[in-house]
Symmetry: C2
Subunit: 363 residues, 2 copies
């Protein structure tokens, strides 16, 4: 009994739970959109079937029953007089389609901004995430206190310090919203499972432009390789998953980031060349080191940016049309890893809109 | 080696995985909505904190780090010239806000139907579900082949037979969409955690009407008890979670359903009386037994409907305004457990719209 009490006491010391008292900061956006069509559907995936015959009188036995999983969830909106090519949005690690919706401080995200510009939008929850939670593989979901790590990894600052020029709101409500918008995997991340489902989104909707973030960028390249209906790829802060042709994978880039050295992924030349047939643009934000440093978050993204430059060079060497834009190099400062929801996200969106126009993708 | 091969062979016998070849049935809705405001936010929840101080140079150590969980996710849309009271939608077991969006066969769900009628809509993913996946308690997520059970439990029919009059589309694509729209718990269902978050939705948005489905109806009653900004409650097919005043809980209703006998939940009279201050309506669909039967799905819902009638009587005895509508009794046949997405869901919605008007809630 004494030991049990002792254990309990230590547990209480280590982990405390507090009911949230969020200030009532919620305000309605002023959007004013004319939506011609909106809805949601599930797409792609796999079906597990247990052998045997279903017996309705023993309906809890698995024999003859199915499990559908590994699909993506899609919420779509198409405005009146929409442009020809819609935008398909794929989130990054630990995120859902929320990434593209209201910002942590309640402003319009890319969903509303690009609807306002006349684009149809398709927001995905990738397989094994969010409302596409049914996974064909098992997972354990645990609460882990790690949010100050993510604050730092995502370059809001070096916790508890915000970067002086950061484009992230500094009030407590916004940071809480940001932490709460993460949502766990319900099965391990598998780039091929994701790209298979995303490719089937394009099979369903036809031609469109794929917009990816972070971990979503890897499956994004694979989707473009699989499906010619992907007419352009826009990638915000890719890190891993850069594909190179056999024999052309660069040496790993050393990094003091917490994920260590960054390697490219080898694929057949024929697949790689499929990436050279469509325009591609990659954006990175601010507070990324120029040269190796011991500040691990800045050095993590340094390796990503350097790899992106090698990758763009490889695409263009093979006849493609790719570019990487490091925002501070064109005078846009303070962006975190979440450029699409930063305080200057309208400027970030306008930059993309300009590129789409330049490439004739805005008709 | 031989044994391993044998095991592998048996596994393949038992469970087979097939990549889905969904027919391309996706079509855009023709909605034509004027949306004045739309966005999303997280609300409610708890914060876990590990004692100690965060050290940015040891950022993977839990000391001083937080975990925000147990909030709800809300997606909202407000049409132009919206009615005064918006509708807040809470899904049932194994579901997300998808319940209220496009139907399995791609028609408008309650989201679009009620936007078209001029109501603001707030669609929730409850705590520990969908895009509100961060849970303060651990969970194991496993793929279980059980969909033919759900087909039967949700009264589409007695698998593989559809009920002859069923208002569910009989094509393979629609059934697959229905199976895929389920999404797992990332922490156990806890009615108080849910009602706490839902109540805070009303704290944020002000007065509104709460619309609940199935397992969501239990937390719905608790929310109404907690928050006077809930101006009416609409419950589709509640089963468990009926609350009664101390000393007035009826005897359990025996049932041949797979969940056994159904009991009421005892709460203080003072709390119960809070449910008598606002109009409440409950709807049930078709193919529910009138008298006890061995057909387990029909008998499961018989016990739910009988308990609802006892509950409504208790509310009205204490001065409240509650009613239960069994659709076949008013000439509407074939509805499953998912009345809001059945083939006749426009009629189901119009019925609700008529009640809202009757109660003066449609201004």
């Amino acid at each position: 009994m004494k030991m049990r009490f002792g254990t309990c006491f230590i547990m209480m010391m280590i982990l405390t739970a507090t009911v949230s008292a969020q200030s009532k900061k919620f305000v309605h956006n002023k959007t004013d959109l004319r939506i011609q069509s909106q809805g949601s559907f599930l797409v792609g995936g796999t079906t597990l079937t247990t052998a045997g015959t279903f017996d309705v009188d023993n309906a809890l036995k698995p024999e003859g029953q199915t499990f559908h999983g590994d699909h993506a969830y899609v919420f779509y909106q198409v405005p009146r007089k929409a442009k020809k090519l819609p935008l398909v949005f794929l989130h990054g690690a630990g995120q859902s389609k929320k990434t593209w919706e209201s910002t942590p401080d309640g402003r319009d995200g890319f969903q509303n901004i690009f609807l306002g510009k006349g684009y149809g939008v398709y927001l995905l929850d990738q397989p094994r995430r969010g409302e596409a939670g049914k996974s064909t593989v098992e997972a354990s979901v645990k609460p882990v206190t790690d949010e100050q790590f993510w604050f730092t990894q995502f370059r809001i600052g070096n916790y508890p310090d915000y970067f002086p020029n950061v484009q992230f709101p500094k009030d407590a409500y916004s940071l809480e919203q940001f932490y709460r918008q993460m949502t766990p995997n319900t099965g391990n991340f598998d780039a091929k499972v994701v790209s298979s489902a995303v490719s089937q989104v394009f099979d369903n909707i036809g031609d469109g432009i794929l917009i990816t973030h972070s971990q979503g960028c890897g499956p994004g390249w694979l989707t473009a390789i699989q499906n010619t209906q992907v007419k352009a790829v826009v990638a915000y802060e890719p890190y891993s998953g850069f594909v190179f042709p056999s024999g052309e994978v660069p040496a790993p880039i050393q990094s003091n980031g917490l994920f260590g050295a960054l390697s490219g992924v080898e694929i057949p030349l024929a697949d790689f060349k499929k990436l050279t047939t469509r325009p591609i643009i990659i954006y990175y934000g601010d507070n990324i080191a120029k040269d190796p440093t011991n500040v691990w978050n800045k050095d993590h993204w340094r390796s990503g940016l350097e790899m992106a430059k090698l990758w763009v060079a490889a695409i263009n060497k093979h006849g493609g049309d790719a570019q990487v834009v490091h925002l501070p190099a064109i005078g846009i400062y303070g962006n975190t890893h979440f450029l699409m929801s930063d305080l200057n996200n309208v400027a970030v969106a306008n930059l993309l809109a300009g590129w789409l126009k330049e490439k004739g993708l805005d008709k």
